[in-house]
Each structure stands twice: as structure tokens, then as C-alpha cells.
Amino acid sequence: MRSIEQSLPALNAQGIRPVAISIDSPEVSRNLAQHAGYTFPILSDPKVETIRRYDLVHAGAGENGADIARPAEFLIDTSGTVRWVNLTENYWIRAQPEDVLEVAKLLK
């Protein structure tokens, strides 16, 4: 997410709005945003509803056995269609903004 923030001007220039989603409450996400200097929207899915709809539930992997989201990235165009997906196999290894910018060029 830090590399996303660093690439935010480039992403925005391409018309791409990054939006992060986790089970964290708005308060926790606000702390994270302030602490790390994130300026893109961070949304809160404490009941794991959206995460479940996207089939990204990592059952019991959170604090005190909470269900959390597995890391994943989706690029969605303005018609609501998925244009690019990254389902990492190792949660240390995340999509790079360059990959997204490459795909973003194809969007109208």
C-alpha cells in the first residue's frame, strides 16, 4: 500500500482511483492512514460481506481467529467490469503500481 501511495499521482493521472478494503473498523483504518500517510480511500468490511462476495475470505487468519481478507487486487473499469486481477500466492508479494499502470493504459 505504501508503493500505491507513492504512485498515487501517476495512478490518478491515468484516471485510476485506488481503494483499499479490509476488516478493520473505520477508526483503525483512519489510524493506519494517518500513521502511514495514505490519502486514498480505505473502506471497512468488518462483517466480511464484501470480502466473502469476492471469495477472498481467509478463515481464522486474523487476530483471535477472526476471518480476514486474503491479499488481492482488482482493476475495475467504469462499466463495473473486472479488467485485471492479481491473486497473489504469497502475501509478502504484492502487485506493483507499474503492473496496474500498464493495464490502465488500455482503459477508456
Binding site: M1, V19, S22, A61, I68, R70, A72, G80, V82
Partner: protein, 152 residues
């Protein structure tokens, strides 16, 4: 402890192991080039392992009268370092891959499921709004959804 008896390779190997772990989580984890494959950390571990092996050999060398304490110290420091290195490698290359398959996740060409979730100020925001709200006064081309594990 006299300078002559001080086992420099052993202690530097141990310290290097600690430094490797701390620099990974403190610095290198933020840099994709040293996180996506932790070659710097693994290289430092390798160097630490060589130093530790040299240190253990020195502690156990027959031609030097070493106190028992030095041998125990060598085994403890090397054991602890080996544990740290093994734990890191396990966490990075094994445990980090324990992720659900997510075969039902939306695929390229499919419609992204709509949602409405609270932002950091508690205000509900929908995917439709995110796709329609101008970015710096220009019409957006898309939204990059980033699901993450959480801050805790």
C-alpha cells in the same frame, strides 16, 4: 574476557542474524525489490551462517584450550541464530503461501460485485460512486480495489 579469547566471528555472526531480521521488518519490507524476493536478507543470513560456523569451529578447536563456557556459548548463540533464520524462511516461503484458493473471485471480463462500505470517517461509499466520482476534476477510468489483511 580477554581480547584474545573473544570469539569475534561467533558474535558477529549472531549480531548479523539479528540485524538481518530487524532490517527486513524495519526497512526492506517496504521496498518491493527487497521484499518480493528477500535476497538481501538471505545474503546476510548466508554471511551470518559462515561467521557462526567459523566461530563454532574456533570454540571447539582442539589446539586451543577453551573454557567450557565458550563452547556452551557458541552452541547457544548458533542455535538461536539458526532458529531465527529457519523461522524467517518458514514464515516467508511456507506460511505466507497458506492462502485460500479463491476460485470464486471475480475474473477478468466479469462484473465486479457491487458493495457499500464505510470509509475512514464512517461515511458509506459504494463501488458505483467510486467509479463515477471525478479524480482531480477528470472523469475516472477505473478503480483499483486492494484487499488487504488488516492493520490490527
Amino acid at each position: 574476557m580477554t581480547l584474545r579469547r573473544f570469539n569475534l566471528p561467533l558474535w558477529s555472526g549472531f549480531l548479523l542474524t539479528l540485524v538481518s531480521v530487524f532490517t527486513f521488518f524495519g526497512v526492506l519490507v517496504w521496498i518491493p525489490a527487497t521484499r518480493n524476493f528477500p535476497w538481501v536478507t538471505l545474503g546476510l543470513f548466508l554471511l551470518a551462517a559462515v561467521l557462526l560456523i567459523v566461530g563454532v569451529r574456533r570454540a571447539f578447536s582442539a589446539n586451543q584450550a577453551k573454557p567450557r563456557r565458550a563452547k556452551i556459548g557458541a552452541v547457544v548463540l548458533t542455535g538461536f541464530s539458526a532458529f531465527l533464520i529457519a523461522a524467517f524462511v518458514f514464515a516467508f516461503f511456507v506460511a505466507a503461501r497458506w492462502l485460500p484458493a479463491s476460485t470464486g473471485a471475480p475474473q477478468v471480463g466479469q462484473r465486479a460485485p457491487e458493495f457499500t462500505l464505510a470509509d475512514t470517517s464512517g461515511k458509506p461509499v459504494s463501488l458505483t460512486e467510486l467509479l463515477a466520482t471525478p479524480i482531480n476534476g477528470n472523469a475516472p477510468k477505473g478503480v483499483l480495489l486492494i484487499f488487504y489483511r488488516g492493520y490490527w
